[in-house]
């Protein structure tokens, strides 16, 4: 599948859609938007979903999103901005490349980025709370993470040894 974001980065369309780029992150104007003036911030590295974005790169994205949002206020006289991440097929993500959208808003612009709230029944709320607390706890349990970490460490050690060995071979 062709990745729209990677194509923007490689400038395949022949037009410049990039407003700013640094080592890790790009700010660009995409072809397909909810409303004109929408800007996208995305990591250069082709990572499909939020869960696979490195923390340091995600933090950089967040800071840039805030700057873009401020620039949108200043440049377009917007009354507000929506920040949206569509993460996963169920959330309407089309391109398998993580990105954050900054959407300029005006009173009465007709964009329906809102929802009707439905309070949960008390028992359902209890259950949801319990499920999520449990999921959080299991994510942070150290014994579930350890095996993988060890593997990575071993590999790295091996690589180092190999490199050291090959260096030694050089006269």
């Amino acid at each position: 599948m062709v990745c729209e974001f990677c194509e923007i980065l490689e400038r395949k369309s022949g037009k410049e859609q990039i407003l700013f780029e640094d080592q890790d992150v790009v700010i660009a104007v995409r072809d397909s938007v909810l409303t004109p003036g929408q800007i996208t911030v995305f990591p250069k590295k082709h990572v499909p979903i939020l869960e696979t974005v490195e923390d340091s790169i995600l933090k950089r994205c967040a800071v840039l999103v805030n700057k873009v949002s401020m620039a949108v206020f200043e440049s377009f006289g917007s009354g507000g901005t929506n920040i949206l991440v569509k993460n996963g097929l169920g959330a309407g993500q089309i391109m398998p490349h993580f990105g954050i959208e900054i959407i300029p808003r005006q009173e009465g612009d007709g964009l329906e980025l809102a929802w009707d709230g439905n309070p949960l029944a008390e028992d359902e709320q209890e259950l949801t709370l319990h499920l999520l607390q449990e999921a959080f706890a299991s994510l942070n349990r150290p014994d579930e993470v350890k095996p993988e970490e060890k593997k990575v460490l071993k590999q790295k050690k091996g690589e180092d040894n190999y490199l050291v060995k090959s260096q030694r071979r050089i006269p």
């Binding site: 037009k15 410049e16 859609q17 407003l19 700013f20 104007v29 397909s32 938007v33 909810l34 004109p36 003036g37 800007i39 939020l50 869960e51 923390d55 995600l58 933090k59 950089r60 994205c61 967040a62 805030n66 700057k67 873009v68 949002s69 401020m70 620039a71 949108v72 206020f73 200043e74 006289g77 917007s78 009354g79 507000g80 901005t81 929506n82 920040i83 949206l84 991440v85 569509k86 993460n87 996963g88 097929l89 169920g90 959330a91 309407g92 808003r105 005006q106 612009d109 329906e112 980025l113 009707d116 709230g117 439905n118 709320q125 949801t128 709370l129 999520l132 449990e134 999921a135 994510l139």
Partner: protein
């Protein structure tokens, strides 16, 4: 979302008078004192807390779009996003990533939306900046977002319109200006832009006003940029 208690017109007037006499620090303290989310954070209003660290808490939305809709709230009282420190915002996104993972696993959904409403026009109803994380399933029609294609001309207009203030905010020298001198002068590019065409006639005046402000401010320190505009929006939550 939590609703604000209703007040009469007279009370509103009194409040406005009172606010006029206050210093910015006093206003900030007053806002904080009135803020439902600050009360959730300090525990004086009970909530269904899922997670807490030194910078933020996560609670179930009491009026959710769907089961498992959670709110990620910074502990510091920020009214709108531009006020949020880089450190806090970065941390919030990292926690949002964790939460998204938890919703995907714990609720067996096929997606999540990270959503921020910044300013009343964007649907912000709370006077405390927060991030929504919404579990999604295909066909749930929760946030129906229909994208449309914009042509190359429109893209260029958008780029030209935002380039100058974005570059300023990012501390980048404008790519389009060959000399540094050009930056100090009012940008000619913006004047040529047909704002009406891009963003509707309603905003044209606003755009021009802001442009003037920017030009006046351009010699001032960088920190002040666009401050008045953002404060106005933040103060709508008084």
């Amino acid at each position: 979302m939590l609703e604000q208690p209703k007040i009469t017109e007279e009370q509103k007037k009194q409040l406005e008078e009172k606010l006029k006499k206050m210093s910015p620090e006093e206003i900030a303290a007053f806002q904080k004192q009135q803020c439902v989310f600050c009360k959730i954070i300090d525990g004086s209003i009970p909530s269904t807390k899922i997670y807490e660290d030194d910078r933020c808490i996560v609670v179930l939305d009491i009026n959710p779009s769907t089961k498992g809709h959670v709110l990620l709230i910074p502990k510091h009282h920020y009214a709108i996003m531009p006020q949020v420190s880089d450190e806090d915002l970065g941390h919030l996104f990292v926690v949002a990533k964790k939460l998204s993972q938890i919703l995907l696993k714990g609720l067996k959904v096929s997606g999540t939306n990270i959503f921020i409403a910044n300013g009343p026009a964007a649907g912000q109803r709370a006077q405390h900046f927060l991030i929504h994380i919404i579990p999604r399933k295909e066909g749930d029609k929760l946030l129906p977002v229909k994208e449309k294609i914009i042509d190359h001309d429109m893209q260029e207009k958008v780029k030209l319109a935002i380039e100058r203030s974005l570059n300023k905010l990012l501390g980048v020298k404008s790519v389009t200006s060959p000399k540094v001198e050009v930056e100090k002068k009012p940008a000619v590019i913006d004047a040529d832009l047909d704002v009406e065409e891009i963003f509707g006639s309603k905003n044209k005046d606003k755009f021009e006003e802001q442009d003037d402000e920017l030009e006046e401010d351009s010699e001032d320190s960088e920190e002040k940029e666009g401050g008045a505009n953002l404060d106005e929006i933040a103060n709508l939550f008084k």
